[in-house]
Amino acid sequence: MTVKRRSFIKTSAAGAAALAAGPYFWPKGASAADTVKGGAIYDLSGDLQLFGKNQWACAEMAIDEINAAGGVLGKKLEVKTYDSQSQMQAYNQYARQMVLRDKVAVVQGGLTSSSREVIRQILHKLKTLYFYNTNYEGGVCDRNFFATGATPGGYVDLLSGEAMKRWGKKVYIMAADYNYGQITAKWIQKAVKDAGGKVVGEEFFPLTVNQFGPTISKIQAAKPDFVMNVFVGPAHASFYGQWASAGMNKKIPMVSTTFGAAGEVVRMPPEIADGILTCYSYYEDLDIPFNKKWLAEFRKRNGTDYGYLTDVPPKDWYGWIFWAKAVNEAGTTKREKVIEVLEGGLTVDGPGGPLTMDAKTHHCTMDMYIGQAKGGKFEIQKKVAQVPPTNTGNQCDLIARPDTNVMYEPKI
């Protein structure tokens, strides 16, 4: 039997339509008068569940802690959780639903920049506070928006600076070919030039590329002192095995802004992963009393089969604690009052050290650490205390211009 091309295309189109329609999920509704409502949206299923599940695990832990400590304004904090299924149209739909039907006082969640931009604009319009707790490319300047994640303006300097000090000034950049990768690569270019270094090669990879042979040859020819990558997704993760197979992991040091964010350090054998240098605001291996207690509690709730936590998931813990603290201090869930408290330099102590909300940018000042992969975990080698959020290059000032709603890109 033969299949004609046309019938195949028709068939594929039918399949695509079926996928786009997607399953429909209606969360259980429950409402009581004496509760304060919040909304959470995470990628609990689909391609991004690897992140979303841990994010929600951290958020849930924070919510339970808030309620155990007396709740919000003396009432129980009741959070409705939505599973985006890693799909953008679900973000759109659920963001509206949370505000219009559930009437939540705050929305937290999202992982990718695209999901953030979908709900940020909706929540801005509907005047409902939004906390985005992921490390991202930075630059959002919006009075309704608060970010607890690290941004490249903070960590790229530190990471490339540390690598240049250790290995030399010639850098090869490899980055994902979209918003986050492109912008982070710009920050790396700037940081390397400012420190007197030289970028000897720069390559961008679509998210589907999983063959790196030609690039590895090009790197061998360019002979950089180290390679700095901004990889995203499972296809790019293929790079490390190919790099090790060519024996390059023993010759040229690897620096990454993303390695470890998806539990790679547990999944990849030490022969492949050892030596990769990273910079995050949280590692499980941090020797801080708060972290030891926090991590023990996390493991008690979630077991040990969750990978390895770095920057992203614990920030969802911070996000909820931040909001609850601000509401309790303001004495109301009214948006204006809560923003005022948050802009008053609110600080939350947590597993990665204290985070302080910056009034001008609505991003956080936080401790950053340099960690090197070693034997299935990270060895913490350096701490830089209280790094301010410089991700908009001082373009954002929400105190002077509260009506701003833009996303700045670095001027380089």
Partner: protein
């Protein structure tokens, strides 16, 4: 000079890996006319079968070359008996059913196996080529793919089983009329296709990693290769992967990875415009 050698090796590798990820799909499509949308997940499961059995203490090569293909062959036969056999000749239904299967398998892998299974370090050292060095595993992938294609050729061309399989695919009713158990031939062929996918997934596991969604990164290229190759499984896969692999890799070397990806798609579109039934719609029609 050494750069030229490296480029040639890389192109051979690109062709081989493309053929490797496509051959299982090509056999199921070419011989049976079934479009298996769960092909990527067969690769994924092959990878898991390999790393799980290896981490459980099975010898590296046995885990890769025996455990993975046998496991996926069994799964393939079960899938054929439970789902595919009810849908022969109904292309749209097969696509939907296997797509559903694909989503189910990803979900199952994510739930049962999770994202944090320890991977495997690629074996072999490196080989120096002038100023460059290339992983020994690259040569291994090229060699295994060649051996596999040769074995399939011999198997289909010169064995009694191959003759029966080819006869059944050409005219199932006639084969049935002269006493061939058509059901069994279909199940076996599907099983072989699945086994090849499982083997490919296992071979690529050390250099690609294994995650529940990893199949998605293979499946598009595998489909383009198979459709570009046409209905004749072996010759089609060989010809299409040579063309696509060489073009995309050469362009990647000359410019950037994104242009390499675009070049592959452009070549595929032009090819299908000129040869709507794929390369084997016009050439090598009497091949295997």
């Amino acid at each position: 000079m050494d750069l030229a050698v490296v480029v040639v090796i890389q192109i051979l590798y690109a062709v081989a890996s493309l053929a490797l990820i496509s051959i299982g799909l090509a056999i199921i499509f070419g011989m049976m006319g079934v479009i298996n949308f769960a092909h990527g997940e067969f690769l994924m499961m092959g990878g898991y079968a390999f790393i799980l059995s290896y981490n459980a203490g099975v010898n590296f090569w046995i885990a890769m070359l025996v455990v993975a293909p046998v496991t996926i062959a069994v799964i393939g036969v079960v899938v054929e008996r439970l789902i595919i056999r009810h849908l022969y000749g109904r292309v749209i239904e097969t696509v939907l059913a296997t797509w559903g299967l694909s989503l189910f398998l990803i979900g199952l892998a994510a739930t049962v196996l999770g994202y944090h299974q320890k991977g495997v370090n690629p074996p072999f050292g490196t080989i120096r080529i002038g100023a460059y060095q290339e992983g020994g595993y690259t040569f291994f992938v090229i060699f295994v793919t060649l051996a596999l294609m040769a074995a399939l050729y011999v198997g289909f061309k010169y064995t009694r089983w191959g003759l029966i399989a080819r006869g059944t695919m050409q005219n199932a009713q006639m084969a049935s009329g002269i006493g061939v158990n058509v059901d069994r031939v279909y199940a076996t062929t599907f099983g072989i296709g699945a086994a090849l996918s499982g083997l490919a997934g296992a071979i690529l596991a050390p250099i690609a990693g294994v995650l529940p969604e990893i199949g998605v990164t293979y499946v598009v290229k595998a489909f383009i290769t198979v459709i570009g190759g046409g209905a004749v499984a072996l010759a089609g896969t060989g010809a299409a992967s040579s063309l696509f692999g060489a073009v995309s890799q050469a362009v990647t070397f000359l410019s950037r990875p994104v242009v390499g990806e675009v070049a592959l798609l452009v070549v595929a579109i032009v090819l299908l415009r000129l040869l709507p039934l794929g390369i084997t719609g016009r050439y090598f029609r009497r091949g295997l």
